[in-house]
């Protein structure tokens, strides 16, 4: 029997030859990626490169037109978003997408919708409040009345409440002041050090390559480069196209 090239034990998440179309228009083509059991992997690329589409495909919001996605050995590309969440993948979508007319605390608890371990939920809530003290101060405030940075913290906190085994972050730095971006970076590193692998999608390549261990570069739906983040940071093409150097 042939060894199955897809059942490689080394990766937590594996994308194999994946393509996504929106109404016949191709958004990403023949994508191959491996996300290991720990650390931060970043996907960088310009507007419309297909970064968001890639995350949406992982979490089941967009269907593949070809290829497959495996998580922890099992295929997930045919699952609904709620089934993907149940497998342990939490997705902080582009634009935060907090529930505007729910309070901070309701937003966070909604992140734990599929969990029944009441005591662990309470302690995770305290942990999120410990990580983001602003959220605790504002726990009964409606999410729509929060600042952009606070909403981003809330979106990340909500994802952590699912107790994920893999965290997908789509442009967490978008629209935030430099100090807040820095804080966000620290938090992402902290989360991954605590044992949750992170896929970080960013347009801010400087930030992303500084935080990540490994990087993929997408251009108009194609994977054009990959490698350890430090190496890509020195890569001529990356420096010219993404770092403005």
């Amino acid at each position: 029997m042939q060894p199955d090239p897809l059942s490689s034990e080394s990766a937590l998440l594996q994308i194999v030859g994946a393509s996504v179309n929106y109404n016949k228009v191709s958004a990403v083509r023949n994508l191959n990626m491996k996300i290991p059991h720990g650390g931060i992997v970043t996907i960088i690329g310009a507007n419309g490169a297909g970064k968001t589409t890639t995350l949406r495909a992982i979490s089941g919001l967009s269907k593949l037109s070809g290829g497959e996605i495996r998580f922890d050995g099992g295929r997930i590309d045919n699952l609904n978003p709620e089934q993907v969440v149940a497998r342990g993948i939490a997705h902080v979508p582009e634009g935060r997408r907090v529930f505007p007319d729910m309070t901070v605390e309701e937003n966070l608890r909604t992140g734990a919708f599929l969990r029944r371990d009441q005591e662990a939920i309470e302690s995770d809530l305290s942990a999120v409040f410990g990580r983001f003290p602003r959220l605790e101060e504002r726990r009964s405030q409606l999410a729509k009345t929060m600042s952009g940075g606070e909403q981003q913290m809330l979106a990340i906190g909500r994802a952590l409440m699912a107790k994920p085994r893999l965290l997908l972050l789509d442009e967490p730095s978008m629209g935030l002041a430099p100090v807040i971006v820095e804080e966000m970076g620290r938090i992402v590193v902290e989360i991954s050090r605590e044992g949750v692998p992170v896929v970080l999608v960013e347009q801010n390549a400087e930030l992303a390559l500084g935080l990540a261990d490994y990087a993929y570069v997408l251009e108009t739906g194609n994977l054009v480069l990959e490698g350890p983040a430090k190496e890509l940071h020195e890569n001529d093409h990356v420096r010219r196209a993404y770092l403005g150097l």
């Binding site: 609904n80 939490a90 997408r97 529930f99 505007p100 007319d101 909604t110 919708f113 909500r158």
Partner: protein, 289 residues
């Protein structure tokens, strides 16, 4: 004069109660599924026929018949979700058209089963609360008021306190983000449809002894409900309740002191006024829910 005002206020409270039950269901369905359910008035009609059939014809107790009306119409709602709205989820206009088709089917079925004559059924109670010589409230109307208060309070608690209530609100505010929390839109749509249809059904059931039941009775109810939710703000449950109260008071007072046609005109003008001053309604935001 004071007595006439008090009596009119009681009448308005009764009207506000069943209008709120119908309108809140309509808003809930729109909020979670993004569909304008034109068949909502016919769900009200089905609830009324449940009481005609079970209480007036078969002799079961009134409240049992009303409870069956709620549950039966709620189940019809689940069926509508599964067969009409789910396949058309990405097509709100299709959902609207399908609900119009379903409305015609329900009207035809009701005509075939029950005939087109108006059913006048005996009240389940003759008792009248007398506050003075000319201020009184028939207990049959009190049932509608108390029923609406209990059910709307229960709905509010469900939405604010329960896990599935939160899921419903989350789905209404951002279906995709809700899916990313593990909330199944099929499940929240089913719950919203059961509650929304069930509230319309129970409104019809509780008012059946007070109105004439006939296959086309849903028309006037849904027109009123539409005005109410536009005044209240299309996505707001609280807005729907408050607008139901405002509309019922304005309409009942104008009917009493002028006449019903003028009241309809004033009601529509109220809607136009709100649309001009605040197009999203008193409590509405631009989003659904």
């Amino acid at each position: 004069m004071l007595e006439l005002l008090a009596q009119t206020a009681l009448n308005a409270t009764y009207a506000a109660s069943y209008i709120a039950l119908v309108a809140v269901g309509l808003v809930l369905i729109f909020g979670v599924m993004g569909v304008v359910n034109f068949a909502h008035g016919e769900l009200y009609m089905l609830g009324a026929y449940a009481v005609v059939a079970l209480y007036a014809d078969a002799g079961f107790p009134f409240f049992l018949a009303a409870a069956v009306g709620l549950i039966f119409v709620g189940i019809v709602g689940i069926g509508m979700e599964r067969t009409l709205f789910r396949p058309l989820r990405d097509n709100p206009l299709g959902g609207l058209v399908a609900s119009i088709g379903f409305l015609l089917i329900l009207q035809s079925l009701a005509s075939v089963w029950f005939g087109v004559r108006m059913e006048h059924i005996p009240p389940s109670t003759q008792q009248i609360l007398r506050f003075s010589d000319s201020v009184s409230l028939p207990v049959q109307r009190l049932y509608v008021i108390v029923g609406a208060v209990i059910l709307l309070t229960a709905l509010w608690l469900f939405l604010k306190r329960s896990r599935f209530g939160w899921a419903l609100r989350a789905s209404a505010q951002d279906p995709e983000a809700a899916a990313l929390q593990g909330i199944s839109i099929n499940q929240t749509a089913r719950i919203a449809m059961f509650i929304g249809a069930g509230l319309a059904g129970v409104a019809g059931a509780l008012t059946a002894p007070l109105v004439r039941t006939f296959p086309y009775m849903g028309h006037s109810v849904i027109v009123t409900a539409f005005i109410v939710i536009i005044v209240g703000g299309v996505g707001s449950l609280e807005g729907a309740v408050l607008a139901a109260v405002i509309y019922a008071f304005v309409h009942t007072f104008v009917t009493t002191f002028f006449d019903g046609v003028i009241a309809d005109i004033v009601g529509l003008s109220l809607m136009l006024l709100v649309l001009i001053v605040k197009p999203t309604g008193m409590f509405g935001t631009a989003d659904r829910a």
